[in-house]
């Protein structure tokens, strides 16, 4: 569908992240690339669950005339996104700590200059 514009936005975000990972040399930038891809995928999951004119699936003080279930967005993608956000935070924390230790040992963040592993 040509009107799937939010999906295309997701792909553009993922493409930006992939480009950074593939062509940049600084480790911090690579970590940023991973975060951008994570955000893209999270956005993708959220957009998957959107229903036109839908409200949040919470019943507290819901407007009385909301059709159930057709007037609500899907809850499962939101739960999946929550999970994947936390996983993203965990991965990012570990990557950043690796970068701190690596910088202490090598004194550089350039991936081309840190080749102590033999080829």
């Amino acid at each position: 569908m040509i009107y799937n514009l939010p999906f295309y936005a997701v792909i553009i975000i993922i493409a930006i992240g992939l480009y950074i990972i593939a062509f940049k040399r600084n480790l911090i930038k690579i970590a940023m690339g991973i975060t951008i891809i994570q955000s893209g995928v999270n956005l993708f999951l959220i957009t998957l669950g959107y229903r036109k004119d839908g409200l949040a699936p919470i019943f507290t003080h819901l407007p009385k005339d909301t059709p159930i279930p057709n007037g609500m967005v899907l809850p499962v993608p939101q739960a999946l996104t929550l999970t994947s956000i936390v996983i993203g935070v965990a991965v990012l924390a570990l990557i950043l700590s690796f970068i701190i230790v690596l910088f202490r040992e090598y004194g550089t963040l350039d991936t081309y200059k840190m080749r102590r592993l033999k080829e």
Partner: protein, 157 residues
């Protein structure tokens, strides 16, 4: 950032804001099954309160008051509550993580179907798990930031 942290103005405002942020985080955690929110979201707010302290006062001073070892114990406790709730569900009801608290006096009320004003004493094991996860996230994220900040400060000397 020096070892003493930021200026006096920032420190004072942070000490004013810290309890407010913490209370807000508790609100989000405790009302997670009624209004938008939950353990993770509230935990992230609470952790950001602690991070605010770390930024304002410096990691050394905060580490003296609450070390990351204590946070790790706190975090393990949260995780243990989660998994033990699941195991109790296995023993008391049918399966692991089954919602055995529905229809009991504790968190057991069932709200009317459809739109309603919401009951705090509802949700079965959901509030328990929310609290467990909230504990875990506050302690865990603060511990990570504290460790990283300590490592960065140690490097400067």
């Amino acid at each position: 950032m020096t070892d003493e942290g930021l200026s006096l103005i920032v420190q004072n405002i942070v000490s004013l804001l810290f309890p407010l942020a913490l209370i807000f985080s508790f609100y989000i955690i405790l009302f997670g099954h009624v209004t938008p929110g939950g353990g993770f979201q509230g935990g992230a707010v609470g952790a950001s309160a602690v991070v605010m302290l770390i930024v304002a006062f410096g990691a050394k001073k905060i580490h003296g008051n609450m070390s990351h070892e204590n946070m790790s114990i706190f975090e393990s406790t949260g995780a243990l509550i989660f998994i033990l709730t699941g195991l109790i569900g296995l023993i008391v009801a049918s399966t692991f993580l089954s919602n055995f608290l529905v229809d009991t006096p504790l968190f057991g009320e069932i709200p009317a179907w459809g739109s309603n004003p919401g009951i705090l004493n509802s949700g079965g094991i959901l509030p328990v798990l929310n609290i467990a996860v909230g504990m875990k996230v506050i302690a865990g994220l603060s511990a990570v930031v504290l460790l990283m900040a300590l490592a960065m400060e140690g490097k400067k000397k």
